[in-house]
Subunit: 231 residues, 2 copies
Amino acid sequence: MPRSTFFNLPEERRNRLVREAITEFAERAYVEASLSQIAVRARIPKGSFYQYFEDKLDLYRWLLTEEVPRRKQEFLGVSPPVGGFWARLEHHVERGMAFLVEHPRLARLTAAAADPSAIAEVRGLHRSICEAGVAELRALLEEGVAEGAIRTPGADLEHATRLVSAVIGPGLTDLVLQELGAELHEVLGSDSLRRRLGGARRRRLAAWAIQFIRGGLDTGAPRSSTRKRQP
Amino acid sequence: MPRSTFFNLPEERRNRLVREAITEFAERAYVEASLSQIAVRARIPKGSFYQYFEDKLDLYRWLLTEEVPRRKQEFLGVSPPVGGFWARLEHHVERGMAFLVEHPRLARLTAAAADPSAIAEVRGLHRSICEAGVAELRALLEEGVAEGAIRTPGADLEHATRLVSAVIGPGLTDLVLQELGAELHEVLGSDSLRRRLGGARRRRLAAWAIQFIRGGLDTGAPRSSTRKRQP
DNA sequence: GTCCCATGCGACCGGTCGGTCATATGACCG
DNA sequence: CGGTCATATGACCGACCGGTCGCATGGGAC
């Protein structure tokens, strides 16, 4: 966690630091990212940085576990659970795409949890973020089971969650980039791409993905309901 | 490409270098990987390394585009196209999982194509590998369309390919790791995990994944067949 | 023998990194 | 005013990196 001095910082200075840190960690993996560069770009002496954070990992961890999720929540708002399960899931997916389009750098930081790393602490951090995401999705799918929208029996819900997670994570990201006709790195420089991928197209894509997932869960799961769990 | 001196090397020395390079690049992303470490572990002076390769990227590129694909082909063998489309796809998926289980390090190098990188050349290399993989899968799915096994009209095949790719790529990898109860990094140290994930369980998982994909393609695609392409 | 040349080799180079430390600054207190 | 204390600062540190360079070596050609 940041030191108290960080939170006492004049707002403009603190914002500069956070903004440049997000940019750096969005464009470069943890090891590639350079504190010196962040400091220079934020016009904050490196010595001062260490008054605000314990070290590089402290900053990274705070971004991934506090700042980015906070901003994501802010963007998503509180979405009241309206409509049937599939409509809710579709809405969830569409909002996720909207976040990717409106805040590419924040979305990239969220996705960084899937990056490999040779540093054990970073791996652990990424892992915990991944698992939290999977748990959230599993809870959502469990609602679908409870409502009878999904016929998957409990034993396979874990597997189903993983596949669905891959579809709405890397799969949809890939698809969105394809639609934009751009690479991730080009997209990061832009603050907002809403002009290139508006709500209508996003909703069409989301509906399409939901059809894919719905079909997969409907026919895929029940046939393997008799498999045994590993000991 | 490696220099000619590399291919003239005594076999044992060359194998040591290749083995240690594969290990290093499997465990660490490109930027994290250290030539010095590879050289030390392969007991080859760093000066000598530069007799064999232009630079670090030359080695990495050769591994990703030549050596690893060659070994993968060797492992997969020439699989004659027998059975219907879905049976063939299932076989394809099962063999992919087998490769992951029997040669985790090689499989990890193949998957490295999805890693982000701030180095333009590395990004380009990764991108070309990814696109090649997608093209291969698309060709396969086109067979399915030709045979009438998939009802997806042509316009959406590109999108469908991307989602299927996410399922059998990151999705299945995640699922396999879940089955193994291990993290990727733990798995890399082992040469073979066949005792922990044998053919029977692999086939069950593959069949499960195919059901998921089949259901997704059957119901998901046709409904959006009327959408317009972007200008 | 002597020359040549491909290859082996490790000390060395410039550069960047994450992180530290001695000092400077300036607000507040007596 | 002098003293104290939190904070600001940038020169500096040791480690490591990818890559180079000049010398060593050794097997033919003659």
